[in-house]
Symmetry: C2
Subunit: 170 residues, 2 copies
């Protein structure tokens, strides 16, 4: 699980960074789920990541410059993980990955509504979202009204689908 530099091809090097079954899942949960702590990532993980794998990936992503780790001032044992510019610019990749998966794989409606919005929003929405992440994680730029954020919109859309599914089921 280290960089072996098999070749200088950009696709190959990208794969060496996050071409495994967990790294992008962790980053997805941080980017779209807003998770910042080990426990949040561990317990709320939809796919059920194991704690040793999570610890390993966090360590690795920090070493690679995709995340930073800082002590949480509110709790001596808590660590806070932040995205870096390197991982924030993964948003277009996530968007394309979601768009492709939505077409070709057996996605569930609730979990793919975000991918749909991201796809429809296009580059300008991605940029807005990346700006939000820069503010949240890097302290760069200015805050937005909390309900106008891309993340809030994505979350609201997700909730609407879940509610609708519950209504149908009842």
């Amino acid at each position: 699980m280290t960089l072996d530099r098999r070749s200088g091809c950009p696709i190959n090097l990208s794969l060496e960074v996050f071409g495994d079954r967990w790294s992008l899942i962790v980053l997805r949960d941080m980017i779209f789920g807003g998770r910042r702590h080990f426990r949040e990532l561990l317990n709320n993980s939809m796919e059920g990541i194991a704690s040793n794998i999570l610890a390993d990936r966090l360590k690795r992503l920090v070493e690679l410059g995709m995340l930073t780790r800082a002590d949480d001032p509110t709790h001596k044992q808590k660590a806070i993980y932040s995205l870096t510019e390197m991982s924030i610019t993964l948003v277009p990749i996530m968007a394309q990955l979601g768009a492709w998966g939505r077409v070709w794989l057996p996605v569930t409606e609730d979990l793919s509504i975000r991918a749909k919005l991201l796809e429809e929003g296009g580059l300008s929405l991605w940029q807005d979202f990346m700006d939000e992440l820069r503010f949240e994680h890097l302290g760069i730029g200015t805050p937005k009204p909390i309900d106008a954020t891309v993340r809030a919109r994505l979350r609201a859309a997700y909730q609407a689908v879940v509610d609708e599914q519950a209504r149908k089921a009842s």
Copy 2:
């Protein structure tokens, strides 16, 4: 190496299809390198894929609907692998992956010129390229003059960089 359906999230499902260190490399060589045979993929692989891994990935990609396998009429033992619409539409993902890698990872100039062109060409170039692949692999659409193809342009640009590097080195 099978689909375990950890969740219905499109990013997760995409990762379950090609979230490993070799599947996308094989597809990259088919898409950008025009390789169609086992030996071509094995011997010309920049990253040095092992024959058992290649055999396994080809089999898996066929099972997943990303490739099809057909007998080569010119040689009884040869098999021809073709991309499917499912794998052809990976082009935007490849382009984003290449663009990101070019910015953040230690890519070499010769191997990243293609990613640069693909990035600059944008969606319309990706579409042209996908149309070419559809013609080559699916027999859909009409052929283009051989030197006007996107692949020919990418290859020419690559060669120009390699030649320039050789000139500098001499």
